[in-house]
C-alpha cells in the first residue's frame, strides 16, 4: 500500500503558491511524514488527540492532586455535593467521587488499551493465517469466527465472569480480548487473500521463505494501516464493553472501581444526586468520543480512498 504518486505531487504543488521555501525537487516526503501531515490537518482528530492526552494526564496524575484516595471514607460528609474539599462531591458512604472517578478512568483506559492490543493482534494472526494458507486452515478458523459471532461476546464474558472473580483483572482483559477479535479477523483475511498472489509475496515464496515468515515479514506490514485503524477503534469498543460488563458487576470487582461500576452506582440517583452519575458518565463519553475521533482521523490519514 504505497502512497499514490498524485498525492505526493499534489502536496508538493500545494507548497508553491504559498510563497514558502523553494521547492526542493529531490526531497519526497516519507510515507509517515505524509500520514502525519494529513492527520494534523484534521482539526477534529487533533482535538480528539489533545483531549485524550488530557484525560490520560487526569487519570494518572489526578489521584495525586487530592488528599483523598479512592478507598478513603469521609464520615463527616455523606452525599454532599461538589465543594472545595470534595471536588466531585461524595457518595452515600462518604467516598470521594473525584478520587473514585480518576481511579475508575485509570482502570477503564488501561483495560481498553490492553484489550484492543490483544484482540487486534489475535485478529491479525488468525485472519492472515486463514487467508494465506486457505484450505482446511481457512475453513476451521472461519468456522470458529462464525460460531463466536453467533454468541454476543458480552454474554460469553458474563457467563465466564465467576472465573476471574477474586483473581487478577488481567484475566478479565484476556477473556474480553478473546471474544472481540472476530470482525477484524474477517477483514484481515479478505485483505490477505488479495495480497497472497502479489509479486513480492510470490518472490518470497519462491526464495523458500516459510509461510509464517512471509505473513509476519510481508503480509502484516502491508496491512498495517488497517491494523492501526482497527486497533484504535477497538479501544473504544473495548472500553464500552468493559464498562458495560462492570456495570452489571461482571467486570472489574470491588473494592476496585471502573467507570462502569461508578455509573451503575450513580444511575438510580442520577436525578436527585447528579454528581454521582454525571462526572463518571461524562468522562466516559468524552474518552470514547475522543478515541473515535482519533480513529476516524487515522483512517482518513492512512487510507484516504476509504471515502469516509
Amino acid at each position: 500500500m504505497s502512497v499514490p504518486t498524485e498525492q505526493v505531487i499534489g502536496r508538493l504543488a500545494d507548497q508553491r503558491p504559498g510563497g514558502g521555501p523553494p521547492l526542493d525537487e529531490t526531497r519526497v516526503p516519507s510515507r509517515w511524514g505524509v500520514v502525519l501531515r494529513r492527520f494534523l490537518g484534521r482539526r477534529l482528530a487533533l482535538a480528539g488527540l489533545v483531549v485524550l492526552a488530557g484525560l490520560f494526564v487526569l487519570a494518572f496524575v489526578g489521584p495525586y492532586l487530592t488528599p483523598w484516595t479512592y478507598t478513603d471514607k469521609d464520615y463527616a460528609a455523606f452525599l454532599s455535593g461538589p465543594s472545595a474539599d470534595h471536588w466531585f462531591g461524595t457518595t452515600q458512604t462518604g467516598g470521594d467521587v473525584y478520587a473514585l472517578t480518576v481511579r475508575g478512568m485509570q482502570k477503564s483506559l488501561i483495560i481498553g488499551l490492553l484489550v484492543a492490543l490483544f484482540s487486534t493482534g489475535l485478529a491479525a494472526i488468525v485472519g492472515s493465517f486463514a487467508g494465506y494458507f486457505g484450505g482446511w486452515v481457512d475453513r476451521t478458523l472461519m468456522w470458529m469466527v462464525e460460531l463466536l459471532l453467533v454468541l454476543p461476546a458480552f454474554l460469553l464474558v458474563a457467563i465466564l465472569s465467576p472465573l476471574f472473580r477474586g483473581r487478577t483483572w488481567l484475566l478479565f482483559v484476556v477473556l474480553l480480548a478473546a471474544f472481540l477479535w472476530m470482525v477484524t479477523a474477517r477483514i484481515v483475511r479478505g485483505m490477505t487473500i488479495s495480497l497472497r498472489e502479489r509479486e513480492y509475496v510470490l518472490a518470497a515464496r519462491y526464495m523458500g521463505l516459510s509461510g509464517p515468515r512471509i505473513i509476519f515479514r510481508h503480509i502484516l506490514p502491508n496491512i498495517s494501516s488497517l491494523l492501526i485503524i482497527d486497533a484504535t477503534l477497538n479501544v473504544s469498543a473495548a472500553i464500552i464493553a468493559e464498562t458495560g460488563l462492570s456495570y452489571f458487576g461482571f467486570g472489574v470487582q470491588p473494592p476496585d472501581v471502573s467507570l462502569g461500576t461508578l455509573i451503575a452506582d450513580g444511575t438510580t440517583s442520577a436525578v436527585t444526586f447528579p454528581w454521582l452519575f454525571g462526572f463518571a458518565a461524562g468522562l466516559l463519553v468524552l474518552i470514547v468520543l475522543s478515541v473515535n475521533l482519533v480513529g476516524d482521523g487515522l483512517r482518513d490519514a492512512l487510507d484516504p480512498t476509504s471515502g469516509a
Binding site: 460460531l147 458474563a158 451503575a264 442520577a270 458518565a281 471515502g307
Partner: protein, 328 residues
Amino acid sequence: MAKFLLRRLASSIVLVAIAASLAYVLAAASLSPRSNFEGRNPPPPAAVVERELEARNLNDRTPIIERYGAWATGLVRLDFGESWDGTSVNAEMARRIGVSLRLLIIATILGSVLGVLVGAWGAVRQHRFSDHAITFASFVILSTPVFVLAVLLEIVAVGVNDATGVSVFEYTGEFTPGLEGGFWTLAVDRLQHLVLPTLTLVLAQIAIFSRYQRNAMLDVLGSDFVRTAQAKGLRRRTALLKHALRTALIPSATFFAYNFGLLLIGATFIETIFGWHGMGEWFIESVRRNDVNAVAAVSCFAAVLVLFAGLLSDLAYAVLDPRIRVGA
C-alpha cells in the same frame, strides 16, 4: 435462490445447536448453583442439597458430559429444564420472550429504516449544514454507551414531566400494575411506558445505521450509473431512490446482521434500567443466581435471533442484488 436459503437455514440450525451447547458447557463449568444453598441460615443438610441439585441436573459433582447429555436430550424436545429453585425455564421464557421481542422488533424496524433514510439524506446533502449536524449528532450518540443514553433520556423525561405537571413518560416497568380502565386507558398506559426504552434503542440504531449508510451512499453517488440515470431523463428523486439508494443498501444489509448482536446487548441494558422483565434482564439475574439452565436458554434465544438476522440480511441481499439470485 430457494436452495441457497434452505442450505443457509440448515447450517444455521447446526450453528444454533453448537452455540447453545457451547454456552451450556461454559455456564455449567463456571457457575455454581451449589453456592446458592451455602449462604442459607440454618444450612440445609448436605443430603438435601445433593438431592435438590440432582433433581435439576445442576450437581457439579456429576461429570459435565453427563449433565450436558441430560440437558441436550431435553433440548431436543425443546425442554430447557428447571431453574435452581425448581420453576420451569420454559414457563419463565414464555412470560418474558414477548416483552423482549416487542422492544427488539420495534427498535430494529424503526432504527434501521430511519437510520438508512437519515444517512442517505445526509449523503445527498453532503457538506451542507444539515449533513454536518447529522454526522456530528450520530458521532456523539455512537460514543455514548446505551446505559448512559438511557439515563440521559430519563433525566429529560423527568424534566418534561415536571414542566408539564403530568406524567407524560413513564420509566419503570412496561405497564402500571393494577391500573383499571378500558382498552384505551391500558393501551395509552402501555405506550407511555414503551416510548423511552424504545427511543433509547432506536436512537442508538439510527446513529449506527445513518453513519454506515451515509458512507455507502457517498460511494455510490459519484458513480457513472447514477449520472447516466439522471442524464437519460429520470427525475433526480427517482434516480436517487431507485438507482443510488438501492445499490447503497447492499452493504447495509450485511451490516444489519453484524449489528444485531450489539442490539441484543443494548436491549439487555435497557430492560434492566427501565425495569422491563424481558430476556436480557433474566440473563443478568440468572448469571448472578448461578442459574445454569436459564443462562443456557437465553444464550440459545440470542443465537437464534442473531442467525435469524443473518438469514434476513441474506434475503435482503438477494432481493437487492440480482447477481446473487442468478448465481445461486
